[in-house]
Amino acid sequence: MRRETLLNAAVLALLLAVPLWAQATDEPFTITLATRAVILAIAGVGLNVALGLGGLVSLGHALFFGVGGYAMGILAFHAQSYTTLIDWPVTIEGTKSMPVIWLVAVLASALAALGVGALSLRTTGVYFIMITLAFAQMFYFFAISWPAYGGEDGMSIYVRNGFPGLNTMDPIQFFAVCFGLLLLVLLIVWRLSRSPLGLMLGAARQSEARVQALGQVPYRLYLTAFVISGAITGLAGALFADLNRFVSPTMFSWQTSGEIMVFVILGGVGRVFGPVAGAALFIVLEHSLGGLSEFWHIYLGAILLGVVLFARGGLYGLLAGRERAHD
């Protein structure tokens, strides 16, 4: 087997083994940590579609994470307070059903990505970074100043949303739901990266002149990738909100965007499973270094610097070598 395949299997096995062991030894907090890693991994896998495949350095993915989070928060808030979401022209009520919430979160964040992408992708390089950041900040301040949904304080959701046939309040069952979604997202992105679109997108990243000479419009390719990317990160946002049973403007903050990018860089830009390893490593570092010092971000910064300077390919580059060109 190829080293990368082995590493993928090892990463998933570890991510599965830790909560199972925690379940056996009755350590619910560890299960929650693992669930957090899984959810953040989904966010990173989403960003990696734009960043890794398309070469689009978005520093605004917190926007989609937040949109997903607020989609969950708003729907669940109306359901728990027995109020309607809108009355006109049709009555729409809130919901506590996870599948419905996911669907809304994915559609809402895809739509947001379409709007933000359509405007931002007219720029390149550092301007693109700044404009995506600016859009996310706009949403951040908007969320802060929206008293109906908690404003600065955010919203608490008292009971975790439901999934048919499962008790989602049981940490291990909620973990299973998130892990299943991670697998699904990985499958989609893995297929995407080998699809016609993936090939052309990667070519646009390497040479726009080339894909234009082939009759393709880079803007359209990038926008498609950006929408898929935003939708996946939005799904992660909805799960993250459900994990914490809490939504707040922090989900939109630039720190969140930065952290999602850190997962991708730590794991390996452009490697399908990279962000999974990156997010898991991040959680481990946060937990272990965070216990040592309040200023654990300084150590994280040092590690990141090391990765960028000495291990460009992140964990995957280090352990699995350079990506195979194709199979």
């Binding site: 040479s207 080339r210 234009q212 082939l214 009759g215 060109a325």
Partner: protein, 251 residues
């Protein structure tokens, strides 16, 4: 004579004070190789770029298949059937040679916005890509990363990708540069046959190749076409000899 596939009318382009294209008229007819020669910096690449769409001319028209394409994007012109090779390779360097060829086949066939089927298992695209690689002689290198290719091999791959497009016209910017004697001869034989498929506007430095291959030759000096004619006419043209062929000797 039949209608030209490509009809360039009164093209002008300046970069500041530098007039890179001056009132350029040029036609390309079915079945011909029209060579564009001229010293370095004469404006050959600039002209090709205006034809292919990378640069907007200040004035003038590009008529392709009877249609004014001057306002169209590069991508739109490519879809209409302009197959271009770049002087400075524009290939996906991280991809394998085969992937680059498949990319061309994919661009030609369409269906780019498909998300789920593995593109490198598409028998149709692979067959088309492999045929093109075979034609230029890159078959044995198909699994190499493009960044590992030599300069000349990248040239060949540029041509192969253009072949996968089955275009209506080829625009080739110095495809033989850096190929070596063997590669050049092989490519010349290939171009010789290729003109039957689609006419070729060929920028080339190698005078022997140009004289051996071209049906017509245009000589570009300081952004102006100083002469257009058959091989014999150009050989005999005094202006060309002083302006260009003379310089060749000390180049």
């Amino acid at each position: 004579m039949t209608d030209p596939v490509l009809d360039i009318r009164g093209l002008n382009k300046s970069f500041g004070a530098l007039r890179a294209s001056q009132d350029i008229d040029l036609t390309l007819h079915p079945g011909e190789i029209h060579a564009l020669i001229g010293p370095n910096g004469a404006g050959k690449s600039t002209l090709i770029q205006q034809i292919a769409g990378g640069l907007r001319p200040d004035s003038g028209q590009v008529i392709f298949d009877g249609r004014d394409v001057t306002g169209l994007s590069t991508a739109a012109r490519a879809r209409l059937g302009m197959g271009r090779t770049f002087q400075i390779s524009a290939l996906a360097m991280d991809y394998t040679v085969l992937q680059n060829a498949v990319l061309g086949a994919l661009g030609a066939r369409g269906g780019v916005y498909r998300f789920f089927r593995p593109v490198m298992r598409d028998a149709d695209l692979l067959a088309r890509a492999r045929a093109a690689l075979d034609t230029v002689g890159l078959t044995e290198f198909q699994a190499l990363r493009t960044s590992e290719l030599s300069h000349g091999q990248r040239r060949q791959l540029e041509v192969a990708v253009a072949l996968t497009l089955s275009p209506r016209v080829f625009l080739m910017d110095e495809p033989m540069a850096g190929l070596g004697a063997d590669g050049s001869r092989r490519l010349m034989e290939m171009l010789d046959d290729l003109r039957a498929q689609a006419p070729i506007l060929l920028i080339e430095h190698d005078m022997d190749a140009v004289f051996a291959l071209a049906d017509r030759i245009s000589v570009l000096v300081y952004g102006q076409i100083v002469a257009t004619g058959t091989v014999d006419e150009i050989r005999a043209n005094a202006e060309v000899r002083t302006a260009y062929l003379g310089e060749e000797e000390d180049a």
